[in-house]
C-alpha cells in the first residue's frame, strides 16, 4: 500500500539520492504509508502544530545537550524533526546481523592486538599501523577482559548510498553517545503521534537500558551470583553528554559517579555512598581512556581514579569500554575491517565499507592529492565531524592546506568519495524538504551480542549539508523499524 504522490507531488526529491520515505516515482515507500496518509489527511499545518507540541514536550521532558559558549555551559533543547525515518524490519534484520558480525570481529581483533598479535604477525594488518598508534595503549597489553570483549558498546555510523544500500561510515568504539536521544525521541513521538503508532507496527526500542544493564552485569568480576555494583562514570554536569549519562544511570537504576566519587583501596574500586564505601564491579565510563587513571596514563593529570587500571588489569573491576579499545576506532583501521572479519570469523562481511583511500599508501596518496576536489578527506583520529574536508565544497586554499597536512603526516588521513547520502522529508519552515541523514545504531557485546532496534537518525538541517552533528546544527529523527513480515 503506497500513496501515489507523497504530499501530492510537492516533495522535491533530490536527484541521485535515495530517499528513505519516498520512492523515485514520488510515491511513499510501503513502511512510510501511514505517515503519507497522515500528511495527506491533515496537511502541513497540522505537521507544524505537532512540531510545536513536540518541541514543548522536549522542553518539558528536559531532553537537551550541553554546549560551551563563552565559558558558560548552556543546555540546548534537543532538536527532533516531526517526520520519522522508516526502515522495513526485514532490511533491519540483515543490517543488525552485519553490525553484530562487525563488532564481534573487532573485539577479537583488539583482544589479539593486546595479546598474541597474530593478525600483525601474519601481515593482514600492517604492524606499524598499530604499534605506532597513540591509541595502542601499553598498559593494556597482556590483559584479556571477560568474554574477551573490549568494546562493549559500539555506535556504528551507517549511511546509504544512492542505491539505498547501507554502508558503514565509521565505528565508534570509545564512548559513543546518542542512545539516550534514540530512546527519548521515541517517547516524545508516542506522545505527539499516538495515532500513527496505532496504524503501523513499529518495533519498540525501550528494551535498550535493560539490555545495557544486563550486558554490564555480565562483565562483573564477582560473577552472576553476587548482585553487581555498576556505575556510570561521567566527567560531570558540564559535559556535553551529561544528559545522556544521567539518563542512562536513571534508566538502569545505577549510580552516576564522577571521578572523585570513586577510589581504589585494597585492590578494589570503591564508591563513596551516604552509607559508606561500596565495592564497584563494573564501570560504564563515559570518560576518555587517558583521563581515567593518572597513575597509568597522565601522571600530571588531576583527573581520574589513581590505581584504577591496576585493579582492572587484575580483573577485579570491569571497565566498559575497556581501556585501549580505541585502537580499533581509527579511520585507517576501518579500511581493514572487511579483512578483519574474514580473518577472525571466516565469514564474508554482511555490511560494506565506504570505499576508502589510505594516504599512507603512496599510490593511494597520489590519487587523493590529485582528486582533492572530488573526495572527502578525514583525519584518522577525530570524532564529531571535526577536521573533515569536503572537497567539492572547499575553497582552493582549504584544499591546499589539506594537501600540505596530508604530506606532512600521511598516516593520519584517509579519503573517501563524496557520497550522495540518502535523504528523508524534513519539516523546514513549514514545508517538507529532503535533508541528508545518517544512522547510528548501538551494538552491545558482553556475554551476548545485541543490536538496538534501529538507532539514532541524525539529519543535516541545512539544505544540501552533510553535517549531522547536533553540536554543529544537525537535527534528529525518530527511527521506525516497521514490521513488514506479517
Amino acid at each position: 500500500m503506497s500513496l501515489e504522490n507523497f504530499t501530492g507531488g510537492r516533495y522535491p526529491l533530490l536527484k541521485n539520492c535515495f530517499d528513505e520515505l519516498v520512492a523515485t516515482d514520488g510515491s511513499a515507500r510501503p513502511p512510510a504509508s501511514a505517515i503519507a496518509r497522515f500528511i495527506a489527511k491533515h496537511g502541513d499545518l497540522e505537521l507544524c502544530k505537532r512540531q510545536l507540541q513536540l518541541n514543548q514536550t522536549i522542553s518539558d521532558m528536559g531532553v537537551c545537550f550541553t554546549l560551551y559558549a563563552d565559558g558558560a555551559n548552556i543546555d540546548r533543547a534537543w532538536p527532533l524533526d516531526v517526520i520519522p525515518r522508516t526502515i522495513p524490519s526485514s532490511e533491519w534484520q540483515r543490517t543488525s546481523a552485519g553490525l553484530k558480525q562487525r563488532l564481534a570481529a573487532l573485539n577479537l581483533f583488539i583482544d589479539d592486538l593486546y595479546n598474541e598479535q597474530k593478525i600483525l604477525k601474519q601481515g593482514i594488518v600492517p604492524a606499524e599501523l598499530i604499534l605506532d598508534s597513540k591509541n595502542f595503549l601499553a598498559p593494556c597489553q597482556g590483559v584479556s577482559p571477560i568474554h574477551g570483549v573490549w568494546a562493549n558498546i559500539c555506535g556504528t555510523d551507517l549511511v546509504r548510498d544512492e542505491h539505498g544500500q547501507f554502508l558503514v561510515l565509521e565505528d565508534n568504539l570509545r564512548v559513543p553517545s546518542g542512545v539516550s536521544y534514540m530512546l527519548e525521541n521515541r517517547t516524545v513521538m508516542k506522545r505527539v503521534f499516538p495515532e500513527l503508532f496505532a496504524d503501523s507496527t513499529i518495533v519498540p526500542v525501550d528494551d535498550y537500558p535493560a539490555q545495557l544493564w544486563q550486558m554490564l552485569a555480565s562483565l562483573s568480576p564477582r560473577g552472576e551470583h553476587v548482585p553487581p555494583c555498576i556505575v556510570v562514570l561521567t566527567p560531570g554536569i558540564y559535559n556535553s553528554a551529561y544528559f545522556e549519562h544521567s539518563f542512562l544511570a536513571q534508566q538502569m537504576g545505577v549510580e552516576l559517579a564522577e571521578n572523585h566519587d570513586l577510589f581504589v583501596e585494597d585492590d578494589r574500586v570503591w564508591l563513596k555512598t551516604l552509607r559508606g564505601k561500596r565495592q564497584v564491579d563494573v564501570i560504564y565510563r563515559r570518560i576518555d581512556d587517558i583521563f581515567i587513571d593518572p597513575q597509568a596514563f597522565r601522571p600530571d593529570s588531576v583527573l581520574g581514579i589513581p590505581g584504577l587500571i591496576a585493579v582492572w588489569r587484575k580483573g577485579l573491576v570491569a571497565i566498559a569500554n575497556a581501556p585501549g579499545s580505541g585502537v580499533a576506532d581509527d579511520k585507517v583501521i576501518y579500511s581493514f575491517v572487511p579483512k578483519i572479519i574474514q580473518y577472525y570469523l571466516g565469514e564474508e562481511p554482511l555490511l560494506q565499507n565506504v570505499e576508502t583511500y589510505l594516504c599512507q599508501d603512496p599510490l593511494q596518496r597520489s590519487f587523493v592529492l590529485a582528486n582533492l576536489d572530488k573526495l572527502v578527506v578525514k583525519p584518522a583520529n577525530e570524532s564529531g565531524g571535526y577536521g573533515i574536508l569536503i572537497g567539492p565544497r572547499a575553497s582552493q586554499s582549504e584544499r591546499d592546506e589539506m594537501a600540505m597536512a596530508i604530506k606532512a603526516n600521511p598516516r593520519n588521513f584517509i579519503a573517501q568519495p563524496t557520497l550522495n547520502l540518502s535523504t528523508a522529508p524534513t519539516l523546514c519552515e513549514g514545508m517538507l524538504e529532503p535533508r541528508h541523514l545518517d544512522l547510528r545504531p548501538f551494538i552491545l557485546q558482553g556475554a551476548d551480542l545485541y543490536c538496538s532496534t534501529g538507532g539514532l537518525s541524525r539529519v543535516a538541517l541545512t539544505r544540501g549539508s552533510l553535517v549531522v552533528n547536533s553540536s554543529q546544527g544537525g537535527g534528529s529523527k525518530d527511527t521506525w523499524i516497521i514490521n513488514d513480515e506479517g
Binding site: F197, I202, A210, Q250
Partner: protein
Amino acid sequence: MLARSVENIFWLGRYLERLDDTARLVNATSHLLIDSHKDTEFGWPVLLEVMGQDSAKVLASYGLEHQNRQQLAQIEQAVMQHLISNIDSPVSIRNACSQLRYNARTIRQLLPRDMWEELNKLDSFVQQQCVETVSRQQRYQLMTEISRRCQMVIGTLDSVMLRGDAFDLFTIGRHLERADMVTRIMDVMVLQTLQPTQLKRPRFRWISILNALGGAESYQYYIANNLAGAAADAIDYLLCYADFPRSVSYCLHRIAASGKALPNSPAILQQVHQLQHLITEQAVTELSTVQLHQLIDQIQTGIIDLHQVLVDIATAEQQPLTA
C-alpha cells in the same frame, strides 16, 4: 469529626486515587497497544475486566461484540467512553470525579479552603474535558493532566490539611484504593499469561504499565540491585517492594501507619497484618501463575474486608469522648 463523616472522607481518598489510577491505566494500556508487545495479547476489553466490569456485557450495551476483530476501532471507542466520559458508567473518570465532588461537598467543613478549590477546579476540568469525542491524540494529554491535577490535590493536602483523624482516613482511603487497583492490574497481567499446565511463571516486565505507574525506573533499580533475588519480576515488584509507593506492600504499610491512631485501631491493624502475612508467607518469586492468581484473589478479599472494618469504626456504640 462526626461519625457520619468517616465514610465520606474515606471515599474522598478512594475516589481521588481511583481518578488518578484510572487515568494512568488508560495511558498504560494505550502505550501497551502502541508498542504491540509480543509477550501479551492485551486487548481493549481487558481494561474493562481490570475495572471489575463484565466486558462482554458492557460492549453489548454499546451494541458491540466482544471478540469481533472487525470492530476493533469501535471497541476502543466504547471502552474509552466507558472509562472516561460516560457519566453513567460506574467506572468512568467522570463518574469518579462526580463522586469525589459529592463527598467533598458533604464534608466541606473538614477540608482546607485550598483543597476545596483544587477539587472544584479538578471537577470542572474533568466534566468539561472528558467528552465522548476525545481523540487518541488528546487522550494522552488529558489523562496525564488528570493525574497531574490529582497530584496537585495531594500536594495541597500535604501542605495545609490538619493532621488528625480526617487526614488519616483520607490517607487510608487512597492507599486502599491503590492497593485494590494495583492488584486488579496484576490479576490481568497474570490472567493474560495464565496457562493451566504452566507451573513456573514467565517473567513479567510490562514496561508500559510500570511507566504509567511512574515506576519504570525504580523497577529497573529493584532488578539492578537484585532486591528480591534473580527471579524477581514486575509482579514481585508491585506486590512486595515496600519502598515503591505504588506497591501493595507500601500501601499496607501506610494504612497501618495511618490506622494506628484511629479508634478501633486493633481491628484495623489485625486486618492489615493478615494481608501483610499473605504476601510475606512465602516467596512470591516461587509461585506459579495459578498460585499467584489465587494469592491475588485472597488479597482482594482481604481488601474488601479491610474496607468494611474501616467503615465500621464509626458505627460503634457512642461512648463518652475521652481525650
